[in-house]
Amino acid sequence: MSNSYDADKETFMGVPRNKIPWWPTIDYEKCNFCMECDKFCPHNVYERTEDENRKLIVKNQYNCVVFCRACAKACAPDALTFPDKREITKLIKDLRSEKKEG
């Protein structure tokens, strides 16, 4: 089962997916391009490139499942970080109440 749909139409908890900044950030100082995260992620979040310094990039950020951090578990050099979960939860709550009031 894959989840790569049109990000503009996708919502998460009633909020447009593209208003939620949840996806991994690669620390290129730490990343050794072992590609374990890319091999793992079933949602095509990553893309391999020809660029020697950035052989892997976050390509489809909105494909990333909000609150999923499973790829970081596969990362031996600990090069992947995600946003603060509490801040994202608060943002979602705020956007939801805006929607109700508006």
Binding site: E36, F67, A70, K73, A76, I92, K93
Partner: protein
Amino acid sequence: MAEENICVLPCNGLDKSLGVIAREVALKLIEKAPEFNLICPVLLNSGDKTYEELLQKSKIIVINGCITRCSTKLIEQRGLKPFKQIMIPNLSKKYNVKPSKTLNLDDENVKLAVIIADDIIKNLENAEQIEDKTATRDFQEQEYFDITVDKYYFTVPKKGYFFNENDCWIKPQGKTALLGITDYLQNAASDILFVDFPDIGKDIGQFDDVGSFESSKTVLQLISPGSGRIIAVNKDLEPHPEYMNQDPYNKGWFVEIELDNFEEDRELLMNGPEYFEYMKNKAIEEKEHLDKLRSEKDV
């Protein structure tokens, strides 16, 4: 220890330093428990018959250095199932030990290998003591919504459960609650083979990662619908991970928590009818997406 045979199969370990740690853990295990049988992954993979009979009658502990899980695959290819799977990347994070940059292990890495080997032995001993004593929870009959999409059959309990959009459920019962995965997620995972629990006593927030489970296809996380403290884990899942597939809302429960503030958690959760609608749409959309891909291929 037990009269049963125990086999230890590490990965070959020459691809990355986490693999060398996997190999080191196996060596430390044999040092501490000489009755264990060490299996050489290269010899096993060569098609040689040396281990055939031994593996058939043993409990097999596989130790993987990375998510490719070569040693697990070596066992599964033979139609066998590992008794326990050790994932070195998870443990290196748990104990906060960085793998060395080269294939030569540093002192910290060797220490980590000793800790992991000790943990494995301790767990085996504990498992013997608590066997058959795990509290069984009574689950009353309940009513379900259900739908078949493509070849998948999905159910959702009508009452008593709340859900997040990560396809995990919480069933509050007074001050405590059980947590688990939905029928949708178990279908997506297919046959679940391993579970990885959090420590008892750990505090978790809503949408935190509570633990992971693994199928032959993928590794998935249980993302918590609620906040609180872990007070129990479903030990029955270790010998019977298939409960998560067969009965995800009852026997397949994952952990139990003492609730922190369910009123607040509830704001971002769906009830049974809401989740059923959400899940139904997701399953149908996925089917349409797959149909589209298939038809594009045919053109």
